[in-house]
Amino acid sequence: MTSTDLPFPGLHSGIERVPRLAEDQPAQTGKDFTSDQEVRWCPGCGDYAVLKAVQSFLPDLGLRRENIVFISGIGCSSRFPYYLDTYGMHSIHGRAPAIATGIATAREDLSVWVVTGDGDALSIGGNHLIHALRRNINMTILLFNNRIYGLTKGQYSPTSEPGKVTKSTPVGSIDHPFNPVSLALGAEGSFVARTIDSDRKHLTGVLSAAAAHRGTSFVEIYQNCPIFNDGAFDAVKGRDTEDAIIPLVHGEPIRFGKDGGKGLIRDAAGGGVKIAEVAEVGEESLLVHDAYQPDPSTAFAISRLTDAGHLHQAPIGIFRQVERPTYDDQARAQVTTAEALVDQAREAQLASLITGSDTWTVV
């Protein structure tokens, strides 16, 4: 049975062909996934929280550690693989999705993860990101979005708000930012989610769903940079976030605010969605979140409720999760189908290939 035969999404797991720990082996802990390398992010960096969450979440997958691969590009977050005791490669700027594409296509027995940032994934590596999403390669992409360039010490990034004053924009940035979720949805992403570094429970839940999804899982993680962009996500962190976070839960009406007083409804005029007072429109008008909807239009419309400027409000959760054939499964299937048609030994097969049909013999 192929993935396309499944009646609904989520059943065909992203890790089902990755070897698992045997029943009688001791359960792994976060410590098993912690390498001996000293972590060198700045004090207070949001990356610590994500690392801790990943280290404690990976054992739950029950996979053999040697079958997990983390690939990163360049940037603060891209140091991530060094701190995990799995196979890993800290590659070059923007290219992690391309390298991971080769790994994931070559080997179905690996759980492949990409760790990247807003500069790495959306500026220099934008092309690879959109094509990975389009192809639906079986991998999970964690995009740490801190809306700033940290490793190069504080230039504006492709997600920075317009007007941002940085070292390279002393009178304010005039770049319009990307909305990473909108971009991923536009690039045919089959799993698109957003979470927050400081919300361990939500982060872990999204990671679990992402790992379970077969195809490219794209997870934007709002991550605070305390040195160069401190407080960028304060609105969605800590207390009093009920007006800022629009939580997306599949099958639930989308509502937020004090006592759930606000919610999303269809915007007949604009064709998208808009925020309304529940008291005014009635609960029955609220949009029920459907992440499995094949048409990404509503998910895209919801993603537009994210502030492009300084962040006051953002939908958080799994925007979209649909089943679609993956490039790597199909590429391997083409190879195995072709191999199955040959009943010769490889050497004999090679001899007849290079000989071809038009030959002559000199004695």
Partner: protein
């Protein structure tokens, strides 16, 4: 009517027409016929970068030159004995390459005022005296084709399209080529469209019959099969041989081949060919760009496949950073550069050798990469295997420099027996290789093999060997990030030493010096080349020897590192001539490395070096070094005049 048959030892034919006229196919079929007949041969396709330039114009002319002989030949030939021109533009574009006395077969059908004007003719050259020094056969090839195939009810346009097969039939008759392979080919190619199939076969046969019956062609020629070393042969182009070499490298190493590639002329045919061979476990990935192509290939290498990327010069520029990452991570990776004219977009369909220094130095930092180059179309097979041997054995990216001429040119290739092919051992790491202070086992990804200096290749899925690699500098041994100055210096030198050590695995240079052991004979001049100049150099050297003078020739397959004895060989000759299709890139490396005052012979015209001109340069050097006059008169192959009209006093030979 009984016709005369003359013996020739070699012929050069050029088929030229509009790029939609099927000249490449025509040339390829004639080549296959000649190969099947047993001639030695060499071909030179030449086509515009535009897929369909405006019809009938000079930029739209496409040609295919084939040189075939009853003896061992090395080049597609400098100048055609016979030109088949399908329109005025094809005549005008190629006439300058013809020597006096050459035969010209012209399809008169397109010699209308309009088409003549498009080609830049003010009058009809068939009607004036401008072609008087050639033997011209004006024939209405199109008209006769349309007449011959009218029974199939095709449109006039479709019927006319078979004119290339009529021309092929006529030329096949002239040179006594066997016709079966072409009839079989047409039957297969057009099996699903019987009308087109039958029209093409009929046109081909009609062309043959026309030659046999018309009085316009009084003579046909016979070129006997060449004497070649025993074996089974086939005709092969460089790109096909290269693709087969990569498949063979997969078989010989037991590694699945993973090609990450982005389409680019003239390398795309390798991607096309490899995509047909999934049954060998070959995966081909057409990436979103050049960078992703090599990125995916490197990822596949990390995962334990034989990663390959194929491109041309502009693609190498884009891949440079990832090649550097492969140098740093010390993973096997094959980088194939089918060179074309540059810089920038340059001459996409023409050949050049100007990427040597890019291959050598085109990266940031000290990033040594081994470089190999094939010398002929068939040699692309062995060179691909050699590149794979080096990459896998030494855990390094390897650059293979082919070029547009090798890629599209063809030659008879003796099909190797499988036991002649090298065995390549991936030697994956399977166990820990170190103990830490408290005695527990560890894996050190940068603990080098003493003999090769290669690091262990531990692939994901291997328990206990989990490790991280990357572009940051590594500590020697354990591979952890290290900014230590002394360690960096050591690692820079270690990466260089590893590449240098490849030289120990190379055979001594083969110096072709009939006058004696290198330096001990009469030869004072050594001609040293690399890549596709092998043919022209060999042909040029032969002519000088035919004039009675001694000259030595050697050809480099390995450009980095150089073979260990190269310095010694260079020192044994008074003068070293280095012909290259660039401004002296190998010459620069030799001068820097060996302090030898090598002399360059440099042509960058987008075409192979002409053997005749090179022979003059070699002769000049021999004259200088021996203080004698070297006269090459009469050393060229002597059959040209037999084709055309008798020129002045030279008379006809037969």
């Amino acid at each position: 009517m009984t016709k005369q048959v003359k013996q020739l030892d070699r012929v050069i034919i050029r088929f030229a027409g509009d790029s939609g006229d099927g000249m490449q196919l025509t040339g390829d079929r004639f080549t296959q016929q000649s190969a099947a007949f047993g001639n030695d041969l060499s071909t030179l396709p030449n086509f515009p970068a535009e897929i369909r330039a405006p019809q009938g114009t000079l930029p739209g002319v496409s040609s295919f030159q084939v040189h075939f002989a009853d003896h061992d030949i090395l080049t597609p030939g400098d100048a055609p004995d016979v030109l088949v021109a399908m329109n005025p533009a094809a005549l005008r574009a190629n006439l300058g390459d013809l020597p006096p006395g050459a035969t010209v077969i012209v399809d008169t059908h397109d010699f209308t005022d309009r088409n003549l004007a498009k080609a830049g003719y003010s009058g009809n050259p068939l009607d004036d005296d401008s072609l008087d020094s050639y033997l011209v056969h004006p024939v209405d090839l199109t008209g006769m084709t349309v007449e011959a195939v009218k029974e199939f009810g095709l449109s006039r346009k479709d019927a006319g399209r078979a004119k290339n097969m009529f021309a092929l039939g006529l030329v096949s008759w002239m040179y006594g080529r066997p016709v079966e392979t072409t009839v079989d080919f047409l039957s297969r190619r057009f099996a699903k469209v019987p009308d087109i199939r039958d029209a093409n076969i009929t046109a081909f046969t009609a062309g043959w019959n026309f030659g046999e019956t018309t009085e316009a062609f009084a003579v046909s020629y016979e070129i006997k099969p060449a004497t070649m070393p025993p074996g089974t042969y086939r005709n092969i182009t460089g790109n096909l041989a290269l693709a087969y070499g990569l498949v063979a490298a997969g078989v010989q190493s037991g590694l699945p081949v993973f090609l990450g590639s982005y389409p680019i002329t003239p390398a795309s045919d390798v991607l096309h060919e490899l995509s047909k061979h999934k049954s060998f476990g070959v995966t081909t990935f057409q990436a979103e760009d050049e960078i992703a192509g090599i990125g995916a290939a490197l990822g596949a290498s990390f995962a334990g496949h034989l990663g390959v990327t194929t491109t041309s010069g502009p693609g190498i520029a884009l891949k440079s950073e990832t090649i550097g990452l492969a140098v740093m991570t010390e993973l096997p990776l094959l980088v194939v550069d089918v060179q074309r004219g540059g810089p920038s977009t340059g001459l996409p369909t023409k050949t050049e050798q100007a990427d040597l220094l890019q291959a050598m130095f085109g990266r940031n930092g000290e990033a040594p990469v081994p470089i190999v180059a094939p010398r002929s179309p068939g040699d692309c097979f062995q060179t691909a295997l050699e590149a794979a041997r080096i990459a896998v054995t030494y855990r390094t990216p390897v650059m293979l420099l082919s070029d547009g001429y090798l890629a599209n040119g063809s030659e008879p290739w003796r099909i190797p027996e499988l036991d002649e092919l090298p065995t390549i051992d991936p030697g994956f790491a399977t166990r820990t290789n170190q103990r830490d202070e408290d005695g527990s086992e560890e894996f050190w990804p940068y603990l080098r093999d003493e003999a090769t200096l290669a690091r262990p290749w531990a692939i994901p899925g291997t328990p206990g060997l989990e490790h991280r690699i990357g572009g940051l500098e590594k500590a020697d041994g354990n591979g952890n990030i290290s900014y230590d100055p002394a360690n960096h210096d050591f690692m820079v030198r270690s990466r260089q030493a590893k590449v240098d050590r490849i030289a120990a695995s190379l055979p001594p240079i083969e110096v072709d010096d009939p006058s004696g052991a290198p330096g001990a004979g009469e030869a004072k001049v050594l001609v040293l080349g690399w890549g596709s100049t092998y043919g022209p150099i060999g042909a040029g050297v032969r002519r000088v020897r035919r004039a009675g003078f001694a000259v030595a020739q050697a050809h480099l397959r390995h450009l980095n590192p150089f073979p260990a004895d190269l310095g010694d060989v260079l020192a044994r000759y008074d003068k070293v001539l280095v012909p290259e299709m660039n401004l002296g890139q190998l010459a620069m490396l030799l001068r820097a490395r060996y302090l030898v005052d090598v002399i360059g012979y440099n042509r960058v015209q987008g075409l192979p070096i002409k053997a005749g001109e090179l022979a003059e340069a070699i002769a000049e050097l021999v004259s200088q070094s021996e203080g004698v006059r070297v006269d090459l008169t009469g050393t060229e192959d002597h059959t040209r005049e037999a084709h055309g009209r008798q020129i002045q006093s030279e008379g006809a030979l037969s």
